[in-house]
């Protein structure tokens, strides 16, 4: 009998092996012509959801890169975090006759059926963040991204809390499977491998953030009274919004000074918190979603014009803190004043 965890691992492995086993450029015809090369292209982009800042920035970047390319028209769709909607959008893209697809969908389990549609039509696909069999992968290196944040938090604790901590709160997202799990594991490893005195196993609290600020506020508000003696609390979070919920809960409990938080994303809401005086948000690993499009669109044009493209393209992550935020986001309206000082 096969267990659920084994089944999931097997499926993920199938997806990744599938992704690695296909050619990563358009198929060149026998006469040397590239049959998919054209003067202009219509590319479908199915976004994960339009309800969160991260994915809105991805979409804006893709639209910006397409405009910059000059010969790319983007057809938009919203997968609404739903597999059935993603499949319907894939069918719609095929009906609309797109030349290629950028797919940002919710779960690798839907990858097979969606990709089978595109493969049948010979439509090349770049998959963002969730590997899909036969698609070029573009996205986060989740474990490394987590590691960067964990290392930064450990370095801070070594310097300010004598290399130790009384508790580690892990604000995770178990329902979304192995991708965010790799991110969380990276953060935990980054702390435990670098902290002078690693946090005791029994002082590590795994909390389901449900990916929302409200829920992270609630679960941290619930846990703090159960650790009244913990005066040095580290927290790692799945994204900026969840980090803000953690900080708000600690401050509401009058324990703001006892916590230090790192997160993932460094989106504008996170940046705003990072630059506050005396902020308890040390920083977040940057994913630079606004720049995704500027790597994806040229890669897609390369695929369509039969030039080789790497099977997996990873984001270059950086840990963003108050010290270096101006290097990356100094020109944005949000940080103009802070960075001018």
């Amino acid at each position: 009998m096969i267990t659920l965890r084994k089944a999931t691992s097997l499926f993920l492995a199938t997806a990744i092996i599938g992704a690695a086993a296909v050619p990563f450029a358009g198929v060149i015809a026998q006469d040397g012509e590239c049959p998919t090369a054209q003067d202009s292209y219509v590319i479908g982009f199915a976004n994960l959801t339009e309800d969160i800042v991260f994915t809105q920035l991805v979409r804006e970047g893709i639209e910006g890169a397409a405009a910059e390319a000059g010969n790319v028209e983007i057809v938009l769709a919203d997968n609404r975090l739903d597999g059935a909607t993603a499949l319907a959008n894939a069918d719609n893209f095929i009906a609309q006759g797109v030349d290629a697809v950028i797919e940002f969908q919710t779960d690798e389990a839907f990858g097979n059926v969606i990709m089978s549609r595109f493969r049948r039509e010979g439509i090349p696909v770049i998959a963002i963040d969730i590997p899909m069999p036969g698609a070029t992968f573009f996205g986060a290196d989740n474990y490394t991204a987590g590691l960067l944040a964990g290392e930064a938090l450990a370095a801070w604790a070594n310097e300010n809390w004598e290399g130790g901590a009384d508790a580690l709160l892990v604000l995770e997202l178990p329902q979304s499977g192995p991708v965010p799990a790799a991110r969380m594991q990276g953060m935990i490893d980054g702390i435990q491998d670098n902290l002078e005195t690693p946090v005791a196993e029994e002082a590590i609290y795994l909390l389901d953030s449900k990916n929302t600020q409200e829920e992270s506020f609630n679960v941290v508000s619930d846990i703090l009274p159960s650790i009244p003696d913990a005066e040095r609390i580290l927290a790692v979070t799945i994204n900026d919004g969840v980090a803000l919920g953690v900080i708000a809960a600690a401050e509401a409990a009058g324990r703001g000074e006892q916590i230090m938080v790192v997160g993932q994303g460094a989106d504008p809401s996170g940046q705003e918190e990072i630059i506050k005086e005396g902020s308890r948000y040390l920083g977040a690993t940057g994913y630079f979603p606004e720049l995704y499009g500027y790597q994806i669109i040229p890669a897609m044009i390369d695929i369509l014009e039969c030039r080789p493209v790497a099977p997996s393209v990873y984001v270059n992550h950086e840990f963003i803190s108050a010290e270096n935020v101006c290097e990356f986001y100094g020109e944005t309206e949000l940080l103009a004043e802070f960075c001018a000082e």
Partner: protein
């Protein structure tokens, strides 16, 4: 049904058909893709999940009931298939999923009709419970549904045919939806059960005094709505090769919007399955057309929300038989001397 009611029903159906044709015309002018065979097929496949649930929700709402738990029920049925396929076999897991959904429908019916809890409260509670159980059963994950061991290929082929197979070029989910629709129409038109649902929805007390078992009929309607969620779950899971505990988000609102738009009264006692078909088609056509235009999600949500408000507004007008001329006069929009017709009645 007397002539006046029949005439009004025809007028309502005609106005829905005009609305549908208008949307089709506008969308076909906006994009060449709209009328392609491929897009029409996609659209009908999208209709199938909503349509199957809408058939039975129509019958339930005509009886005066309401079920907001269908999406969560569907998600739970899906993960039962995903979770137990290896232990029980895929076809047995699918049957069990339909059974569980039917039981949830029956439990809703029992709580509403025998315990007397408000349908809104009952089904919101069930929504929350079923979604939570789905997440627990699936361990929070989307479960792949295919032959992981390679030992039951035929059963899986049969199962996935339910979602992907075709009969004479028509996708099987659509065929199943149409069959259920026709059965539903025959039941509502020609059986005691169908007539009883109208009577109960129109006036439950009078129906009870007339000897109808109001509780039993409503209980059956809730049970069948649960059954429809199970059937929809099987077809969706078969098509997606995966079961998601968060599946079908907000589908209950889409179903209710379509059903009410089609002329079923929120107060019960009125409406037809033909109207529901038109409601589903209007909503799906509108959303499909907007998607083909790359319209933003916000605008799609606004459009769906406005259609829901329009549907409920029309329902209120129909239910209250508003005499518009009288209303305008009382609000001083018309001079007092102009006679008020009996148009609303």
């Amino acid at each position: 049904m007397n002539n006046r009611l029949r005439t009004r029903g025809l007028q309502e159906a005609a106005s829905l058909i005009v609305m549908l044709l208008l949307i089709i015309f506008v969308m076909s002018q906006l994009t060449d893709v709209f009328f392609t065979a491929r897009n029409l097929r996609n659209m009908m496949l999208e209709v199938s999940t909503v349509g199957i649930i809408a058939v039975f929700t129509t019958m339930l709402m005509i009886s005066g009931g309401l079920d907001l738990s269908v999406a969560a029920n569907l998600a739970l049925a899906g993960v039962i298939i995903g979770r137990f396929q290896a232990d029980w076999g895929i076809l047995q897991a699918a049957l069990a999923a339909v059974g569980v959904s039917t039981l949830i429908g029956a439990l809703n019916g029992f709580l509403v009709t025998y315990v007397g809890i408000n349908p809104l409260i009952t089904t919101i509670g069930m929504l929350s419970a079923a979604r939570g159980i789905a997440l627990v059963v699936a361990d929070g994950l989307t479960l792949p549904v295919f032959d992981l061991t390679g030992e039951a290929t035929d059963a899986y082929t049969l199962f996935h045919q339910l979602g992907e197979g075709e009969i004479a070029g028509v996708p099987l989910p659509i065929v199943i939806m149409v069959v259920l629709l026709i059965i539903g129409m025959l039941v509502m038109q020609f059986t005691t059960y169908g007539r009883a649902l109208y009577a109960i929805g129109g006036n439950a007390d009078a129906s009870r005094l007339a000897g109808l078992s109001v509780r039993r009929y409503r209980m059956i309607a809730y049970t069948l709505t649960g059954f429809s969620a199970g059937i929809a779950a099987v077809l969706l899971t078969a098509r997606l090769y995966a079961a998601d505990p968060k599946a079908a988000p907000s589908i209950e609102l889409t179903v209710i919007t379509a059903v009410v738009l089609g002329g079923v009264s929120l107060a019960g006692g009125k409406g037809t399955l033909f109207g529901t078909v038109l409601g589903v088609l209007i909503l799906t056509t509108l959303l499909n057309g907007l998607r083909l235009q790359s319209t933003s999600t916000e605008l799609q949500n606004i459009a769906q929300g406005l259609v829901l408000l329009l549907a409920v507004g029309l329902d209120q007008i129909r239910t209250r038989n508003i005499n518009w001329l009288k209303w305008l006069r009382t609000t001083r929009a018309l001079p007092a001397g102009q006679p008020a017709s009996n148009g609303g009645n």
